[in-house]
Every structure is written in structure tokens, then in C-alpha cells.
């Protein structure tokens, strides 16, 4: 944790004025993106982000500062995500609205994105979480293991398995996505509140 982070963590824990704003400013977008990758659509990701920051606000006093704020927020995000999944009843499909519009070649980027997202969606949840934390969010294995509450060795094993599975899925995109409609990413369980 940098000095700034330590300082923010202390201010937040003490309920100091303005600290929540800073927390949101620093981590809001990161947490939103992580949520988006977990649940696959903007609306659900925003709901999840809201739950994360609400839980952080409510539980500020319980934050002991032993981990970094980022680690703590990601842990909350995963906890809230799992709760959401438990509560979800219906399956829906995230839509192509969020496909990569910022790429230099939007059409191609969209195809790659769908393929990668489909492959990720096909992974079991523990593998997907491990993969996203390290490869997308840039956490070290030690930190990711802390977030997930598992031993580092287990995290590494999950990550390796996730990489192998993704490689095999992405090498055969037709077979992996044959059952899906073109242009749609699917998830085994999607939130429909």
C-alpha cells in the first residue's frame, strides 16, 4: 500500500469528511469494470457497483487496514456478486450494446470480444474469478488469493486451469459457441433483478 492509500484508508475508516468521495473517485471505475466483467452487462454492473460501495460505507468501521483498500473492495465485489447470483432466477443475455466501440476496427474487435467473453462465460466461476483478478485486474497471485480467501497455491492452480481452458476454447470458437446466437454473449447465470 502506498502512503496515499494508507492515508485514505485511515481517513475512510475514521469517517473523515470527503473520504468516501475520494474512495469512489479512486476505485469507482475500476470496481465498475470488474463488475462488468463478472456480470456481463452495464445495468447489472452498476447495480453491483452500487452494492459494493454501499457495503463499504456501512462496513467502514470494520475495515482494519490489514489489506489494501483495493483488495477489500474487490473482496466485497465478489461477495456481493455471489449473493446476486444466488438471488437470480431468470436467465437473460447481455446484449451487443457494450461491444468494443472504441477499437480501431470495431467490427473485428467486437468479434474477438464476443469470443473471449463467451469463452470466459463458459468457465466455472472459481476459474473465471481467478483469471479476471490476475489477468484483467492486475493483482499479484498473493493479492488475488487474499481477495478470494484461498491459499496462493490453489489460486495458481485455478489460474493455470483457466488459461488452459480458455486457450482450448478460443482455438475452436465455432464449436465453443455453436449453440449461441450470433452477436450475443451468453452467461450461464445472468442477473435479472
Amino acid at each position: 500500500m502506498t502512503l496515499d492509500e494508507k492515508n485514505l484508508a485511515r481517513r475512510f475508516r475514521d469517517g473523515e469528511a470527503g473520504s468516501f468521495d475520494t474512495l469512489y473517485r479512486e476505485y469507482g471505475t475500476r470496481i465498475f469494470r470488474f463488475c462488468l466483467r463478472l456480470c456481463g452487462n452495464d445495468a447489472c454492473a452498476e447495480d453491483l457497483t452500487q452494492e459494493v460501495f454501499l457495503a463499504a460505507y456501512v462496513g467502514a468501521k470494520r475495515f482494519e487496514g490489514r489489506s489494501s483498500l483495493a483488495t477489500w473492495l474487490y473482496r466485497i465485489a465478489l461477495y456481493q456478486w455471489r449473493n446476486m447470483q444466488k438471488a437470480c432466477r431468470l436467465e437473460t443475455v447481455p446484449l451487443d450494446d457494450t461491444v468494443a466501440v472504441l477499437s480501431s476496427d470495431p467490427a473485428q474487435a467486437g468479434l474477438e470480444r464476443i469470443t473471449l467473453e463467451n469463452a470466459l462465460a463458459a468457465l466455472p466461476e472459481p476459474l473465471r474469478e481467478a483469471f479476471l483478478l490476475v489477468k484483467s485486474e492486475g493483482f499479484l497471485c498473493r493479492e488475488a488469493a487474499e481477495i478470494l480467501g484461498i491459499p496462493e497455491g490453489t489460486l495458481k492452480a485455478r489460474l493455470y486451469t483457466a488459461v488452459l481452458k480458455l486457450q482450448s476454447l478460443l482455438e475452436a470458437p465455432e464449436s465453443a459457441t455453436a449453440h449461441q446466437q450470433p452477436g450475443r454473449a451468453t452467461r450461464p447465470k445472468e442477473i435479472l433483478q
Binding site: 469517517g15 473523515e16 469528511a17 470527503g18 473520504s19 468516501f20 468521495d21 469512489y24 473517485r25 469507482g28 471505475t29 465498475f32 469494470r33 462488468l36 452487462n41 452495464d42 445495468a43 454492473a45 452498476e46 447495480d47 457497483t49 452500487q50 460501495f53 454501499l54 460505507y57 456501512v58 431468470l90 437473460t92 443475455v93 446484449l95 451487443d96 450494446d97 457494450t98 468494443a100 466501440v101 472504441l102 477499437s103 470495431p106 474487435a109 474477438e112 470480444r113 473471449l116 490476475v134 489477468k135 484483467s136 492486475g138 493483482f139 499479484l140 497471485c141 495458481k156 489460474l159 493455470y160 488459461v163 488452459l164 480458455l166 486457450q167 478460443l170 482455438e171 435479472l192 433483478q193
Partner: protein
């Protein structure tokens, strides 16, 4: 065998690296130079990591900050123990959030206004709610006439059932708020909902001038609203509820006392999940009669607006309004209701409504121009579209009163949520097309003078309500 084990270890090591930050170790690099399999593995891994890194940098919508703020206030207000220390910290926090203009666009400005009201009211506990409630009930006994205008915002039961059954092809016209207006005098009722008029007098009911044999009760919506005032079975027989004074609020220039009633969870009907309801009143502090009421229900993990009602009392009401045989359908507000809840729900004046449509037209035109401009990259287009939307929202804000802003924010928050849940983009496109066609029919219906043509058009419009 030894080689395979070595390769497995190497691939594991490579797999757990953080992309772009952890270099390949020297020993691993030497192995890669001599092992084609591991080298190919690394290539595939790097391609995979490159795809992940290339993920677009999505940002949360501008309204998210305000939504979180509102949720925090609601959380603080719902837990008195936290409130004492929480509100002051929150007020300062929210102020900071509001300063981030990039976060604040369409909903957030009005959301922030709502937050302000919530903070203000949550922080001031005055008076005794139960005595205020009793005074309201007593005052209601002395009412001679009532004129009320309201909007029923909840999903109708048939739509809710269809959603529960997984039907996503639901028309927008079925989820917009329904306007109703009613007059009550000496036990006589006249209720207009959309274009249908129901009259109740002497225990009998007529709809559009035609007797309804089985209907022997006053119209449902208005009788519910009146029961809410009198305090008679506020949430149904035997349902416990709490009451609380939330303080004062200025409503249309008049100081009001805000009272909230909240039911305990009560059993749903026919195995439906238990429901919890909340009723907000804005009371005239002199008469203790409500000027406005909002009915809310806890559903889908949030409090949603079911109905809004405005009351006016003891104004002259002509008896001819209750002359059942003469009552016919009235077309008031139907086009506006279909086009947008703007004029009816937000109570726009004609001038405001013209401004509103003009602003939205300008925005649509600007969006089209930007999208059609081939000299712009997609990134530039996105930036311009965001700026255009922000300008549009600022103009909308400036033309509304604070009360209208709050309703507008509520509805603009609720409606996209409904649409996201119900429709795929293709369905949304189809619905928009169908809706445009309906608008043409609707205008023709009101423009036509010939009754036969009117009936035919009405049949076309209402006979096939879904696209």
C-alpha cells in the same frame, strides 16, 4: 517424463504472471528457446493476455454516483443508529460527489436534489407522527369535495405476470404510467383513466355511459387514495405499519409537513412474495390534509414508485359531472400519455412541453449529425455524443421546477431499468417502429370527426396492443 514435468512447471509459471509487469525469468527463457511446445504455449498465452488488455475501458454511467449517494442516504435513514454519525459525513461526501461534473449528467443532478431533500428530511425528526395521522383522518371527515389527479406507475398485474413467466416482448405503452383524474362529492365519484370515464353513484357504476352490472364499489384507484387519507385500513386490514414525520418541505411554494407510513411486510396474494409498502404524504400544516401522496412498493431490491396523487379539496364541483348516462369517453391526454409521460406526469405547462419536445428534437438531430460524420473517429463521436447528451440534460434541467426535476429523475431512472429487463435491442427497435405507427393512428383517431372511422381506428389501436 522428466521433460514433460519440466514443461508443465514452466507453463504453470508462465500462466500466473501478471501481464506486462512480470518478466519471464532467465531459466524459463532458456527453456523456451529449446522447447517448441512451451514456446507455442507462451504465444497463445500472450495473445490471450493481449485480448484481455485490449478490453475497452468502460466507464460507469454518470448517474451511478448519484444513485450510490441516494442509496447511502436511504441506508443511513433506515438505520437510526448509524444516522447520528452518518448524515454529516454523508452531506460532506455528497457535496464532493456533486462537484465531479463528469459524473453528473441526466439523472444525477435531479438525484442530487433528491438526496438534498432526503438528507434534510431524514435529519429533522419533529412532531408526533401518530397524532398527525389522526388529525389527517379527522380532517378528512370534514371534506366536502375532492378533486385529485394521479399517475399509476406500477406494472399492471398482467404485465408483471408476463415478466415473471419470462415474456420479454412487452410494449412500452404497457409500462408507461397511467394518468387518472377524479372528482368526489356526496358519495358520488367520477374517475377518468386514460380515456375511459367511470361514474359511481347510489351503489351503481357506469363506464363511458354504459352500466356495469357487477360493479358496486367506487372506482378502485380513487377509493384507494381516499382510504389512504382517512387512515382507514391504510395498508389493508390488520397490517401493521410505522409512521414518521420527516420534517418540512416546500412544495410548489407552499410549506408542507412530510409524513411517511411504512407497512411491515405483509403476505402476498396467492403465494406471491410478501410485499412492503411505503406512503409519503405532503400535508398542509394548517388543515392536516395531504396535498400530495406517493405510494411506493419494495420490489426488485429497491423502492419503486407505484402512484403519485395530487389532491385539491372543497372546490366547487358541478353535479353534471356525475350524470352517468351523459358521460362519454374523453380523449384528454391520451396522445401525450402515449408519446411521453412528460406533460401529464411532470405537469408541464404547454410552454414547457414545447421546450421539452424542442430540446429532445435538437438532441436527436445532433446525434444523427455526429453519427453520420465520416470525418470523425468513433472515439471522437463518443465524446461528442456524451457532450450533446450533457447539454441536452442541462437544458432540460433549466426548464423545470425542482419538483418536476425530481419526478423526471425518478422516471428516467425507472424506465430504462424496465426496458433493460424486458427487451433485447432488436425488440426495442421493433417496439419503437410499432410505437411510431401507433402514434400515426392515434393522431388520426383524434383528428377524425366521423364516429365510424373513430371506432375503426380505435379498434386498430387497442385491438392489437403488442407489436
Amino acid at each position: 517424463m522428466k521433460r514433460e514435468r519440466c514443461c508443465d512447471q514452466i507453463r504453470r509459471q508462465l500462466s500466473v504472471r501478471v501481464p506486462q509487469t512480470q518478466p519471464v525469468e532467465e531459466a524459463t527463457r532458456l527453456h523456451l528457446e529449446t522447447c517448441a511446445g512451451c514456446s507455442a504455449f507462451l504465444n497463445r498465452l500472450e495473445r490471450l493476455e493481449a485480448q484481455v488488455i485490449a478490453w475497452p475501458n468502460h466507464t460507469p454511467s454518470a448517474s451511478l454516483a448519484a444513485r450510490i449517494s441516494v442509496a447511502l442516504v436511504a441506508e443511513s435513514a433506515s438505520c437510526p443508529a448509524k444516522r447520528a454519525g452518518g448524515i454529516s459525513r454523508l452531506q460532506t461526501s455528497l457535496k464532493g460527489l456533486k462537484e465531479h461534473r463528469t459524473m453528473i449528467k441526466r439523472v444525477s443532478w435531479a438525484g442530487a436534489a433528491l438526496v438534498g431533500v432526503l438528507i434534510l428530511t431524514a435529519g429533522h425528526q419533529r412532531g408526533h407522527a401518530t397524532s398527525v395521522l389522526k388529525r389527517m383522518g379527522d380532517a378528512s371527515q370534514r371534506i366536502k369535495t375532492v378533486h385529485l389527479i394521479g399517475w399509476n406507475c406500477e406494472l399492471s398485474p398482467d404485465v408483471a405476470e408476463e415478466v415473471a413467466n419470462g415474456n420479454t416482448g412487452i410494449s412500452i405503452t404497457r409500462v408507461l404510467p397511467h394518468r387518472f383524474e377524479a372528482w368526489i362529492k356526496n358519495g358520488q365519484w367520477r374517475e377518468a383513466q386514460d380515456q375511459d370515464v367511470t361514474v359511481y353513484t347510489s351503489g351503481k357504476t357506469w363506464q363511458n355511459g354504459v352500466p356495469v352490472p357487477d360493479a358496486t364499489q367506487p372506482p378502485l384507484l380513487t377509493s384507494f387514495a381516499l382510504r389512504a387519507i382517512t387512515g382507514e385500513n391504510s395498508f389493508g386490514p390488520g397490517v401493521e405499519f410505522t409512521s414518521q414525520i420527516l420534517g418540512e418541505e416546500v412544495l410548489n411554494g407552499q410549506t408542507t409537513t412530510k409524513l411517511v407510513l411504512e407497512s411491515k411486510k405483509k403476505p402476498g396474494v396467492d403465494g406471491v412474495d410478501p410485499v412492503q409498502e411505503r406512503r409519503l404524504f405532503w400535508l398542509d400544516p394548517n388543515s392536516y390534509l395531504p396535498i400530495r401522496m406517493e405510494q411506493m412498493r419494495y420490489n426488485l431490491d429497491r423502492w419503486g414508485l407505484d402512484a403519485v396523487v395530487w389532491f385539491d379539496y372543497n372546490q366547487p364541483v358541478s353535479n353534471t359531472l356525475f350524470d352517468a348516462a351523459k358521460v362519454r369517453m374523453e380523449p384528454h391526454g391520451r396522445v401525450d400519455y402515449l408519446h411521453s409521460p412528460a406533460q401529464s406526469l411532470y405537469r408541464f405547462t404547454n410552454d414547457q412541453y414545447n421546450q421539452y419536445t424542442s430540446i429532445l428534437s435538437d438532441n436527436t438531430r445532433e446525434q444523427r449529425q455526429i453519427n453520420a460524420d465520416t470525418s470523425l473517429t468513433q472515439v471522437q463521436k463518443n465524446d461528442l455524443l456524451k457532450k450533446t447528451a450533457a447539454d441536452c440534460n442541462l437544458r432540460l434541467r433549466n426548464m423545470m421546477t425542482p419538483d418536476q426535476q425530481r419526478l423526471f429523475a425518478d422516471w428516467w431512472y425507472v424506465q430504462p431499468k424496465i426496458m433493460e429487463k424486458l427487451w433485447t435491442p432488436q425488440q426495442r427497435k421493433e417496439d419503437a417502429k410499432w410505437h411510431a405507427e401507433q402514434m400515426v393512428l392515434m393522431k388520426a383517431w383524434f383528428a377524425s370527426q366521423d364516429e365510424q372511422t373513430q371506432n375503426r381506428l380505435r379498434g386498430s389501436i387497442f385491438g392489437n396492443p403488442t407489436p
